[in-house]
């Protein structure tokens, strides 16, 4: 009998191989007449469709039907929007999924943005990313070289980070996971070292993109894996430093 992850991967590959009559939601919005009759999709729809199909197949329709209910209104939204964070939190807290925080370079993100170093520091100090409890980390899977123009932007005095190939190799063995970047603004799927994503401003061959994690341009990310993948989690476990009383 196929496992949860086997079913999910099969669906993920089937969806990402079929671009016929599909268009990215943002592109459709820009040119509705041109893409009339096309099926609209985006990063969240891709993730939700795979999860929904998988939970329906294993017979958990209750959970399948609840996946889209995790909507929220952030500062810039005019109406409630589905971001990944609330669904991720529900899956981790209530359905046995486990979270892995990953960043290509702990202190020198190659876009020079502090959102990543801050996210990393919060995960290491508090054990949470976007309110989701983190169990494992994969840090420095693609360190920024000292010669990179963005290297000096943040914390240059901390020195270049060493490539952490051990944790990356462990992560590459994970058959299925769902990922998010920027606190759930971008969502994607993960399988055996590759990121599968939809670009909502594309159509045809550019609609889906599959690339190896080190080539994925987002600098602070979370992957959560279903219960059947837990025995495969051999990367560094996140252990919080205990508070000690002052001497």
């Amino acid at each position: 009998m196929a496992s949860f992850s086997d079913i999910a991967v099969k669906e993920m590959i089937a969806l990402s191989s079929d671009t016929k009559n599909k268009v990215g939601r943002e592109l459709y919005r820009a040119e509705p007449k041109k893409y009339k009759g096309y099926i609209r999709t985006d990063c969240s729809t891709f993730v939700l469709n795979v999860l929904k199909h998988t939970y329906d197949t294993v017979g958990n329709t209750k959970l399948s039907n609840s996946l889209t209910s995790h909507v929220t209104k952030r500062g810039f939204d005019t109406k409630p929007v589905w971001y990944g964070d609330l669904m991720f939190k529900d899956l981790v807290k209530n359905h046995g999924w486990k979270a892995i925080y990953l960043t290509p370079d702990k202190w020198h993100p190659n876009d020079g943005k502090e959102e990543h170093t801050f996210a990393t520091s919060q995960v290491l100090k508090t054990g949470f990313y976007a309110g989701i409890p983190v169990s494992y980390t994969v840090l420095n899977y693609n360190p920024t070289p000292k010669t990179h123009p963005k290297y000096p932007d943040l914390l240059p005095y901390l020195g270049p980070q060493k490539l952490n190939s051990v944790d990356l190799a462990a992560l590459n063995k994970i058959k299925f996971g769902i990922g998010m970047s920027r606190m759930g603004e971008h969502n994607w799927l993960f399988s055996l070292g590759s990121v599968y994503e939809v670009h909502w401003n594309s159509v045809g061959a550019g609609l889906y993109e599959i690339r190896k994690l080190p080539n994925f341009p987002w600098n602070s990310n979370l992957i959560i894996v279903p219960p059947d993948m837990i025995p495969m989690l051999t990367m560094t476990a996140l252990v919080l430093k205990k508070k000690v009383s002052k001497p």
């Binding site: 943002e26 500062g75 020079g112 502090e114 901390l158 001497p247």
Partner: protein, 162 residues
Amino acid sequence: MWLKLGYLRRTFICVCVLLIVLTQSSCTNKTITQNYGQALIVDYEQFGPPQLSEALLGQDFWQWQTTPAHSPKKYDIKVVIYRNLALSEVEKRYPVDPELIQDYRYLEYSRAKIWIKNQISKIQEELKVSVPNQELDLIIYDFSRLENMYKLLVTLEQGLRN
């Protein structure tokens, strides 16, 4: 005794690190601020990570964009801090213009100052916990955040002197 020595040693290391941080960053600071009398223009990033500054300054992507970017793009957003000046006047001087890709956020001086001082207090509180417990790189990062906030405060006070 051992604990006390360990604590003192970590504090000493942190002070040394802070000195290095201050020396090095003053050499690498490339921020250009412009002072037009009662208003000071700084970069959005000078307020630290968007996870903290978004509530004060709004989204970290173009304000005319309704949804977040689908790529890790950096936006050149400016913050206009103004003092003894009507907001309408500031808006007239520094208009938001999507065609010219000109995104300004307006922030009144005293509000900015209170926010920065609050951030400084919070980071200092975090450091009290971090210094005896955390790895050195995390402590250095917190010192660097503290330094950035002090630098912003100094920029503010120098730029908008009465």
